[in-house]
Amino acid sequence: MFHAGAVLGLAGDGFVVVGGDTRMSAGYSIMSRNECKLWQITDRCVLASSCMKAELEGLKQNVERSIADYEFKIGKKPSPKSIVSLISKTLYSRRFFPYYTFNLVCGIEDDGTAVVNSYDAIGSYGSEGHGAQGNGNHMLVPWLDSQMRVDPSVRQSKDKAIQAILKGIVGASEREITVGDSADIWVLTKEGVEKHRFPLRKD
């Protein structure tokens, strides 16, 4: 039982809503109630990760170094598409001693399309427009699937998308012991990132 938690993301028309809880637990104890699982890679791209914290730090350092290299050589920040493929390669580079991280990379491309990609621990990713990782994912993935089916207008409205993500995390915190404390919900648009935090059950 590692540091865990839940992260989920939903891509809409020109925006992405990413959510993650803030509880870091080890076994049956709580290490921290205030550990952010969302990392802003560039101003258009966010990494959400439910994982072992030490591995995430290692992955972040690796990715930051590659991005600094890219900026130096190419002269501009990498697009979300490049970052998605960079993270996949970084994860696969440790195919036989994997980064123990379960990631979601979300971003807004230059032309305004929103993407959400879910990764497994060794770099295989799929782009479906919504995804969830971590301990709550067996509840969150069906929740997101059903939200899309029942009300496709969720993809058009930022408020509805935020509500869908928030309800998903609240539901996961009710039934998963490692999810709780508070929920970080970030909304990415072409203009930048809007960050919100909502309280969740603390027990």
């Binding site: 049956y28 301990n135 998963e176 012991i177 027990d203």
Partner: protein, 220 residues
């Protein structure tokens, strides 16, 4: 005179046919062998003696590995009108063990002419049964009640060990709750103080232990 016990106790020796079968099932490579996933009550239960009696407390969350199976289950079980028991461990085990204890004690009390059964009898019955099963029955029980000799609290472990204490906690949140008890327990507290103390102890367990949560049940 025939034994008033509901279950016929075995004649001697241990009977572990089922546990061998369970091990084989768990280790079997067959893809349709179901992995036994039990509902455990990763729990905080606590009890203490105050001036005139006993206060028992418990949280209300039941988990099945990491998922919450029941957000509001009842962990304080009725045994007899003067004895109640909190249970931690596998939910089915605590339910059945306390049911059996309740039946046996009721029969015993009828055989004794309607007198209230003593806690020492309850703890003895539990101890004998749990020891016979050598820990296969994963029930950690905290018995509390008032009988003709006064208020008592007994804890019974899954292997059959018994402790008689002025205050006790069990379950995955036991250390969090015990911290609160160690800080504020005094002998001969009043009922209100005792209820507050047990409530605070269980709350500490709920907040700091992931296996416990939701509400606090109290029984005086």
């Amino acid at each position: 005179m025939t034994s008033p016990h509901v279950l016929e106790t075995s004649d001697g020796g241990f009977n572990f046919e089922n546990s061998f079968r369970n091990c084989q099932l768990q280790n079997s490579p067959a893809s349709n062998a179901t992995k036994l996933k039990v509902t455990k009550t990763g729990t905080t239960i606590a009890g203490m003696i105050f001036k005139d009696g006993v206060v028992l407390g418990a949280d209300t969350r039941a988990t099945s590995s990491e998922v919450v199976a029941d957000k509001n289950c009842s962990k304080i079980h009725y045994i007899t009108p003067n004895i109640y028991c909190c249970g931690a461990g596998t939910a089915a085990d605590t339910e059945k063990t306390t049911d059996m204890l309740s039946s046996n004690l009721t029969l015993q009390s009828l055989a004794m002419g309607g007198r209230n059964p003593r806690l020492i009898m309850a703890s003895r019955i539990l101890q004998e049964m749990l020891f016979r099963y050598k820990g296969q029955i994963s029930a950690m029980l905290l018995l509390g009640g008032v009988d003709c000799t006064g208020p008592h609290i007994f804890t019974v472990g899954p292997f059959g060990s018994v402790n008689k204490l002025p205050f006790a906690t069990m379950g995955s949140g036991d250390l969090s709750a015990l911290g609160v008890f160690e800080d504020r327990f005094k002998p001969n507290m009043s009922e209100e103080e005792a209820k507050e103390l047990v409530r605070d102890a269980i709350t500490a367990g709920i907040m700091n232990d992931l296996g416990s949560g939701s509400n606090v049940d109290l029984c005086v």
